[in-house]
Amino acid sequence: MTTTTAEPETGSVRRGSGRDVQGSGRLAGLLLSPTLLVLALVVGYPIIKALHDSLYQRSQGLDAQGFVVQGDRFVGLKNYLDIFSGDSSSMFWNAFWNTTFFTVTTVVIETVLGVTMALVMHQAFRGRGLVRASILVPWAIPTVVSGLLWRWIFQADGVANALIGTQVLWTTEGFHAKVAVIIADTWKTAPFVGLLVLAGLQTIPRDVYEAARVDGAGAQQQFWRITLPMVKPVLLIAVLFRLLDVLRMFDLPYVLIGERKQSVETLTMLALDEANNLRYGPAAAYATILFVYVALVAYAFVKLLGTDVIGQMRQQGKATSKRKKNTAPVRQEVTA
């Protein structure tokens, strides 16, 4: 899916080398085949296997001697039906809403904070390098470790309660548990958004701002009309990454709040719980549902917000290289 503006430019190139396309395509395929093979093995096979397993159930009955009756049974879509309408459906919907809730709240907060951090880091000031490095520290800490760290902060006689002056039992069931997870997740991943956005900010040429200033644009106008549109492709990628990441959220609520606490139970936690109890069929079904959900969210996101994220990056790359010859395309980009 290439963008319309790129079409005419590449069209002429394509026509020129039309005779070569077939042969080089075959060569490209040949050269890529080891990669494709590896991908098929490490990506394709687990997906297909998980789909396959989600249609089976392991027997859990005992025979007369007390031994587990061995063997897997084909059950069709029963695992899925059980998830959506069986006894455990309330667990599923609860986890589904938790996952969605965490996704929406954390991504919004992290985006706002991340952009703010990036704007601060982008300013030239003394010790800028130190600030940039230190802002990365939370991102560099393994999630399990930061989960333990925050658990310590949120314990009954911990720092969090000392700061707010009342005793909130953060790790018990309730809305406060969700808040604890959101705070810890924001602390950990806002820097990630910040860093990606900072990289985007640094590609914005200075002369655009100079021109804006000459034209009499204020700081606010510059942010909304120049900075934000030009950093948008990078920002969208950062948000997309976060979306996909947080939909699979597992370690933070698991370590910080604990297993099987409905207030923070996410879909991955349900899948793990099933697998731990040797019910691989339902576990695979949960995983497949999450997989479909993640794919849908990614698709909707790309469709609604970004036209083509990768294409836009390419386009921007082209635009900046052209800038040397002519500043006109940049203007187009800005107003687009």
């Binding site: 899916m1 991908l39 490490v42 990506v43 687990p46 997906i47 296997k49 998980a50 397993d53 392991r58 005992l62 001697q65 007390g66 031994f67 587990v68 061995q70 063997g71 897997d72 314990q155 009954a156 006689d157 005793q167 039992l169 953060w170 790790t171 018990t172 069931e173 997309l240 996909l244 990441d245 699979r248 597992f250 604990g258 297993e259 099987r260 606490k261 991955t268 899948a271 793990l272 719980d273 697998a275 731990n276 109890n277 040797l278 691989y280 576990a283 695979a284 995983a287 497949t288 999450l290 997989f291 993640v294 794919a295 990614a298 698709y299 790309v302 083509d308 994220v309 990768i310 294409g311």
Partner: protein, 431 residues
């Protein structure tokens, strides 16, 4: 666009891939079951190198004992395989090892609550009873090593909850002996001001299962009866659960105890915030270390109190079993006998302060001097009850935690919680 949607799921597959892998391995294993585990008790054969799979060797003493064995048996070397420190992760690796029918693990160091699951799935081999003098072990520990009257493991290390209490505060209040019943405990707490009365481990995790079972057993109830049938919806069980529920309501148990696992509970006691604490023996040495603890020399232990007399603590600990898919099972059996022998268990207690399963060691004067709590621990152990012996223990403990937590946090009444639990356990535990 197309590129993105194709790669995106790839990242999201991490967790699934691992799960799927486990399933793949499981699938590889199924089909020809029973062939490896068909050895009846007493026909363990094969000698040569073996492995011992267990959680992280935190004291370093298991490696010492393995070295001792290796120096005596050059042709039957044992290699220690350290699994993660987290019990769930250990179980997961052992389960995967069993499902691939791998011979990588020979001797398995099993948590006492896993015995039934491993035995029922034929992942471990029955052990010949004649090989062990079972009368030398504390009887409750032997119970945890059997499944349907067949011995599947040898009791190695044991554990039971004790009542830690502040001797200095009781003395000041003119109380000479620790409480034997819950009512005595409440009375004692009324006389001592300025500290919280009682705590245990009430967060929603395995510790809650232990604390709940203890309360029920100490009131004369059962979670699962001797025949293995769930029988938790009884007046006795209700009295036990109510002790905890009312404790939270009346402030006898501080509110924050609902977040306590072992370590936060220990810290609260060491800060001097608690008069009584239900805790495992490991805390003894730590709380007597000057520096972090404010209660050095100011506490002692007693058997847990109960409704009408001493309570019944929940049994913890580890057993040694032989993987059904391992080679050199005769060596493995000898190695287990070596680890559970009096000399080795004695040395292990001295090095790691983990409680032994052999009754005789509790009377050893030298050990008693170093571990003054041994007599109390022995009395507790003899009275201790195992957690439900269930093949689907993971589901059973989840159900117990769910309902006990709901009762403690006031989401359900004790009656509702016990009725619900009885119903769930009935479905989970097959006669």
């Amino acid at each position: 666009m197309a590129g993105i949607s194709r790669t995106v799921p790839a990242w999201s597959r991490g967790a699934i891939a691992i799960g799927a892998m486990a399933v793949v391995l499981a699938a590889c294993g199924s089909g020809k079951t029973g062939s490896g585990s068909g050895d009846a008790a007493g026909r363990l054969s094969g000698r040569g190198p073996i492995t011992l799979a267990q959680g992280k060797d935190t004291s370093g003493n298991v490696q010492n004992q393995v070295n001792t064995w290796n120096s005596r048996h050059p042709k039957e070397q044992v290699r220690l395989i350290e699994l993660p420190e987290d019990a769930d992760a250990q179980r997961q690796q052992m389960v995967q090892n069993a499902q691939t029918k791998s011979d990588a693990y020979t001797v398995l160091n099993l948590d006492v609550v896993w015995t039934s699951e491993f035995a029922a799935n034929r992942w471990i081999t029955p052990l010949p009873k004649a090989q062990f003098d079972l009368s030398k072990f504390l009887p409750p520990t032997v119970q945890t090593a059997t499944y349907r009257d067949q011995l599947y493991a040898a009791p190695w290390k044991t554990d039971a909850g004790l009542l830690y209490y502040r001797t200095d505060l009781l003395k000041k209040a003119g109380i000479s002996a620790p409480p034997k019943t819950w009512d005595e405990m409440k009375t004692d707490c009324g006389k001592v001001k300025g500290v919280n009365c009682y705590a245990g481990q009430f967060d929603k995790y395995e510790g809650l299962t232990c604390n709940f079972s203890e309360a029920v057993d100490s009131a004369g109830g059962v979670v699962v009866d001797d025949q293995g049938k769930p029988d938790v919806n009884t007046p006795q069980a209700k009295q036990g659960l109510d002790f905890l529920v009312q404790g939270f309501k009346s402030g006898l148990i501080p509110k924050e105890a609902i977040t306590y696992q072992e370590e936060p509970a220990r810290r609260a006691f060491e800060k001097g915030n608690l008069l009584f604490l239900r805790q495992w023996p490991y805390q003894w040495a730590l709380s007597n270390k000057p520096g972090s603890s404010k209660v050095v020399g100011k506490f002692d232990v007693a058997p847990l109190p109960g409704l009408g007399g001493p309570g019944a603590p929940t049994l913890g600990g580890h057993n040694l079993a032989i993987s059904a898919f391992a080679k050199n099972k005769a060596t493995a059996l000898d190695f287990i006998s070596f680890l559970t022998s009096e000399n080795t268990e004695r040395a292990n207690l001295l090095a790691s302060s983990e409680a032994p399963t052999l009754a005789s060691l509790y009377g050893d004067p030298e050990l008693r001097k170093k571990f003054p709590y041994l007599p109390v621990l022995k009395a507790s152990l003899l009275n201790a009850k195992p957690r439900p012996k269930a093949v689907r223990y993971g589901d059973v403990t989840a159900a117990i935690q769910e309902d006990a937590y709901a009762a403690l946090t006031g989401k359900m009444t004790s009656d509702q919680a016990l009725a619900d639990l009885q119903n769930k356990l009935g479905q989970l535990i097959q006669p």
